[in-house]
Amino acid sequence: MAIDKLTGENSTLFIRSEQLFDVARRKSLWYMGFGIACCAIEGLMHASGPRYDFDRMGVFFRASPRQSDVMIVAGTVNWKMAPVVKRLYDEMPEPKFVVAMGACASTGGPFREYPNVVMGVDKVVPVDVYIPGCPPRPEAVQYGFIRLMDKIKAQTEERLAHARSDSH
């Protein structure tokens, strides 16, 4: 943030604005639906469907990585897909998070013996939240998002505390 260079790490302006933007980042997570396999039907379509409505939580579908904060990897990542995942992750603007949805994205799932499958998407991109299940229920996906929000909150507080402790 340019503001911390101008007004110093522990100025109240910087800390207060960081806390405010942290709340905003948590409350409006726009996800780039990256439906690869069966998890896409359960996690993206049903989760934003009538019964488990993602829109309630402010989670909204954006098609382009430039406008999204969370990348949901829903499905198996194999060798041909790995560079695409890496490239899309790189093209996302900065405060970005990755949710590995389903056993395939977390550890390769039922297909991990096959040499063509990458055992878990965390080999390609840093992952924030793993959602187990094959496919996980829509409630599990929404619980994963709630845990992601808690993680963002914890990260910001830890970063600010770190900044405050430096100054003393």
């Binding site: 409006s28 409505d53 829109d55 406008q67 904060d69």
Partner: protein, 339 residues
Amino acid sequence: MNIWLIAILRFLAALALMLVNGVVLIYMLRKVLGRLHVRLGPMDNGPWGLLQTPFDVLKLLSKEDPTPKAVDKALFWLAPAVVFVPSLMAYIALPFSNTWTIANLPLGLLFIFAVMSIIPLGILMAGWASNNKWSLLGAMRAVGAQVTYEVPMLMAALPVVMMAGSLNLGDIVNAQSGTVLWVIPNWYIWNVPAFILFFISGLIETGQTPFDMAEAESELVAGFATEYSSMRFGLLFLSEFSNTFIFAALLVTLFFGGWQLPWVPASALSAIGFLPPVLFVVKTYIVIFFLMVIRGTLPRVRVDQMLALGWKFLLPSSLAWLMVTGVLIKVSQVLAVGR
């Protein structure tokens, strides 16, 4: 007070109105679409999700703004301004009440159309500068659509101008006061073909479904705004909603009697200072509600079908209706003189 100070205060008022409009309309869209689709829409953030859009705007403000390297930097940065400022300037001529207008331009209607035709220029800049095939196609489509429907929109507004006899929006609103045959309010909506032509070309001009060509999510990823992120995308998103507000306000002014209630005399209304602007905005939101219902149900028209509709149906029929209105006005004048 100094004249410049008044102008700056009026600008701040218009800016505040536009930002509030943007925030309220985005929230309203997500709620209306939600209820239309058997789901709730934003609920968790704030009571009934009211704080959802402020959070979205704050988040967009605090996101990184990567500028792709293959981009034409000058145009890439300028395009959001060229799209945002015209849709802000169109607020100048809107008649909130016969005294509350930002600038009582004698050619109000023509000014709004002129300003609204700068926006396709900004969209083309955005699409071409971001050096991305998807945004290029989105921009070409959006410009093709808005260029094609600028003309029928102008032609469809002509019958209203002929009936009102002036281009000043305040005069048009005053011309619609009173009642005909004691019961029917003397609004120009009864000139129904003009209303239909104006409504269709306005829908396309502001990129509403079934004609949302510019950012057809299912075909062109995110249309011309594919490479834009954080606040630049925020401005494009905001100006799209303020275009909708302006189009609905024009519709209300030209056909639904501006800030007037049907059977209440205009003088009684303008006696209470703040009532007319509130009425005007409420009527505009009712029209926007219907636009959103259309957005939630109808599928998208293909590009060439829409352009064929524009050039081959709307333009000839709006010219023909122009002639018919002329004859009707002449005949009514002769009868009035005769009696």
